[in-house]
């Protein structure tokens, strides 16, 4: 995606609104158009900044200059000077004072505009995925060579630990630590599994990695096998991903012919054999113990944990399970070193993250950016703003089980620690952006409908809880809600979290919990006033037939 070169933020707190912030905003829209800058400059509103003294004010980023107070008449001058001619309009500059609130990250990153940074998608789209020669020309299998000939297994694990790489499948567990667990687990037979059962709605990053650069996964798995002491591996690919399966099979064949897989790799005595197992359509098989059951030819029902797969995994042997995107980072880290990797992202989260951007925005698609950029940047810079000029209402991160982020939290840096502090789950990297036309009850209904079908049915809280929550939400959306429903929904989301056996059930209730927390008034309007404020729900007064 082509990115924008500057970002303009107009304050939108109550004080600014009173003093005509929206007129300033409208004037910016006009002036940017008349200078022909609309494609280069992003424009959005920002609230929660404690600077009433200069309201309404304007922040121009990446220079992080604050102008204020700004009147509509100042806008022409400001656009011409700063954005067109590129010099700071000193006469309008606000008195210097530290920025606080959600937007404070801007000061830290002064002078840098977020740019796409490709590590895991470096070769995708650039090379022919069916040609091992092209992969080799682009540094392919050099990391495996380095690991096998110059490093001990422990050194490989230490490098991974030092890089701070964390699992990109959703949970964010430190990858090097997990490798260490498997390496020290007792047993002569161990397995390495790549979890490519990408089924989280809105996520298709793994598909693009597998289809665009299949050898990078093979190379990473061979390195992982060497590090943990395994000689056999499986790639569990989602059944619906036909092209990815074909390309992986071809890649394995080629790698065997050239000696990067199979017996005595690089003449070191290390051997590694790799199989592909195609899924047969079950979201739950993305859960690692369900995935293992499925490889063993059984229903994909999660096992109780502990014991964890790192000690008792496939065929009860120590097993390493890593997500595709996690593995795609391994060869670059071994090749370039841990400190190179840590130069991307921020202190809490190293490297990049692949996001899929969806929903009510002008440009949907996939980006790989350093960890720690904000939702606002994603929407205004990469997605080119909200569709039809609508306002952002909420975003859901990480697929169906991810968190619901209200517009107020769009300036929280997207990294593991900042998200954890704000009570948000990073998840798989899907960003579903919803405008004010979205009804939260309707959205919750769609999500719960998904979970009631995808629950494997093994444990009661998940099997019954999701079904019951869906029924209640349907009732509310038809105008038949009662005040008790809200309590029931809150309890169900809590019980799902507390009592379910696996991650599916534990997280199924989290979007529901977030919706009730951030948008309670809207749910209550459905129940008490029999009214859907967004005008989406049918409110028919009759309960539809349900299966």
């Amino acid at each position: 995606m082509k990115t924008k070169r500057s970002m303009v933020l107009v304050s939108n707190d109550p004080a600014s609104q009173k003093k005509g912030a929206s007129k300033v905003f409208d004037q910016f829209t006009k002036e940017l158009a008349s200078f022909n800058l609309t494609d280069e400059i992003s424009l959005s509103m920002v609230s929660d900044i404690d600077r009433e003294d200069i309201a309404p004010f304007v922040i121009v980023y990446p220079e992080a200059v604050i102008y204020g107070p700004v009147t509509p008449d100042d806008v022409h001058h400001l656009v011409e000077e700063h954005l067109y001619k590129g010099r700071i309009a000193a006469d309008l500059k606000a008195p210097t004072k530290e920025l606080t609130g959600h937007i404070s990250w801007i000061a830290d990153r002064k002078g840098t505009m977020p740019a796409e940074q490709r590590i895991v998608l470096e070769r995708a789209g650039e090379i022919d995925p069916d040609s091992i020669e092209e992969y080799v020309i682009h540094d392919g299998y050099t990391a495996l060579g380095k690991a096998l000939t110059e490093m001990t297994p422990q050194q490989v694990i230490d490098e991974l630990k030092d890089s701070n790489l964390r699992g990109r499948g959703g949970a964010g567990f430190p990858t090097g630590t997990k490798w260490g667990f498997v390496a020290t687990a007792k047993g002569d037979k161990k397995y390495v599994i790549c979890n490519a059962d990408e089924s989280e709605p809105g996520t298709f990053k793994d598909r693009l990695i597998l289809e665009g650069d299949p050898h990078s996964i093979l190379e990473a798995m061979a390195i992982a096998a060497y590090a943990v002491g395994a000689n056999e591996g499986y790639i569990y690919v989602r059944g619906e991903y036909n092209l990815a399966q074909t390309r992986l099979m071809n890649a394995i064949q080629q790698a065997k012919e050239l000696g990067f897989l199979g017996e005595n790799i690089f003449g070191t005595g290390f051997s590694f054999d790799l199989h592909i197992h195609a899924g047969a359509g079950a979201y739950i098989c993305g859960e690692e113990t369900a995935l293992i059951e499925s490889i063993e030819g059984k229903r994909g029902e999660p096992r109780p944990r502990p014991p964890y797969p790192t000690t008792n995994g496939l065929w009860d042997k120590p097993t390493l399970v890593n997500n595709v995107e996690t593995l795609a980072n391994v060869a670059p880290i071994i090749r370039n070193g841990a400190s190179w990797f840590k130069s991307f992202g921020n202190a809490s989260s190293a490297g990049t993250k692949v996001y899929t951007i969806l929903g009510d925005v002008n440009v949907t698609g996939l980006i790989e950016v350093p960890m720690g950029i904000t939702l606002r940047e994603v929407i205004t810079i990469y997605a080119k703003g909200m569709k039809n000029g609508r306002k952002l209402k909420l975003a859901q991160t990480g697929g169906s089980s991810g968190s619901i982020i209200p517009a107020e939290l769009q300036d929280v840096p997207m990294d593991y620690d900042s998200f954890a502090k704000a009570g948000v789950a990073m998840g798989s990297g899907a960003l579903l952006i919803c405008s004010e036309d979205t009804c939260v009850v309707d959205l919750a209904k769609v999500l719960l409908n998904f979970f009631r079908f995808e629950s494997c049915g093994k444990c009661n809280p998940c099997r019954i809880g999701n079904q019951r929550a869906y029924q209640i939400l349907t009732k509310i959306s038809e105008g038949l809600g009662s005040p008790k429903d809200l309590d029931d929904l809150e309890n169900i989301s809590k019980w799902l979290y507390e009592m379910s056996n696996c991650g599916l059930g534990q997280t199924a209730g989290s979007p529901l919990k977030d919706i009730i927390h951030h948008f309670k008034d809207e749910v209550v309007a459905h129940i008490n006033d029999k009214e859907c404020p967004a005008g989406v729900c049918a409110m028919s007064g009759t309960m539809p037939a349900m299966n």
Partner: protein, 159 residues
């Protein structure tokens, strides 16, 4: 079980081929079922019984596996299977209107097969092509950026 009809014998032959392809290994049950499902469009009872005896796995276990995974069918499907994505990204992009129009045009509800045996309509979770939602799959063909108006032309392509 007594094998009575020619159709049953064909089913058993397909099952045999699938079992042989994976060297009659129990742990390859899912790929074996996948092969039969691909060749026949579903997994008939006769095939299931035969796989059970060849792998020495109880029929109950086979049925429990076959009915667990969404891509396996235990009943005969229509000539064409339509999978409509009902996950949130497609829903937000206008999927509901398209799905209602689709049910109307096919005159069937999700999970059922039309009387003439032409169509089976099922809902599916995310197909991984969310950037072009709403999305549906007809057999192996994916259609994205769907609107209700496009449906008649798409359906007319299939005999």
């Amino acid at each position: 079980m007594a094998i009575n009809t020619k159709q049953d014998r064909d089913f058993v032959k397909t099952a045999d081929e699938a079992v042989d392809m994976y060297h009659a290994k129990k742990e390859e049950l899912i790929p074996i079922l996948m092969k039969v499902n691909q060749d026949l469009g579903y997994i008939p009872k006769a095939a299931m019984e035969h796989i059970s005896s060849r792998l020495h796995v109880p029929q109950s276990h086979l049925y429990s596996v076959a009915s667990f995974y969404r891509m396996f069918f235990t009943e005969q499907t229509g000539r064409h299977v339509i999978k409509f994505c009902e996950s949130a990204p497609c829903h937000v992009a206008g999927g509901r209107e398209v799905f209602e129009a689709l049910q109307e045009q096919l005159s069937i509800s999700p999970g059922s097969t039309s009387d003439d045996g032409k169509w089976t309509l099922i809902t599916t979770s995310c197909l991984g092509v969310c950037a072009v939602g709403p999305v549906m799959m007809v057999d192996e063909d994916i259609y994205g950026n769907l609107t209700p108006e496009q449906l008649p032309d798409i359906l007319a392509k299939y005999e």
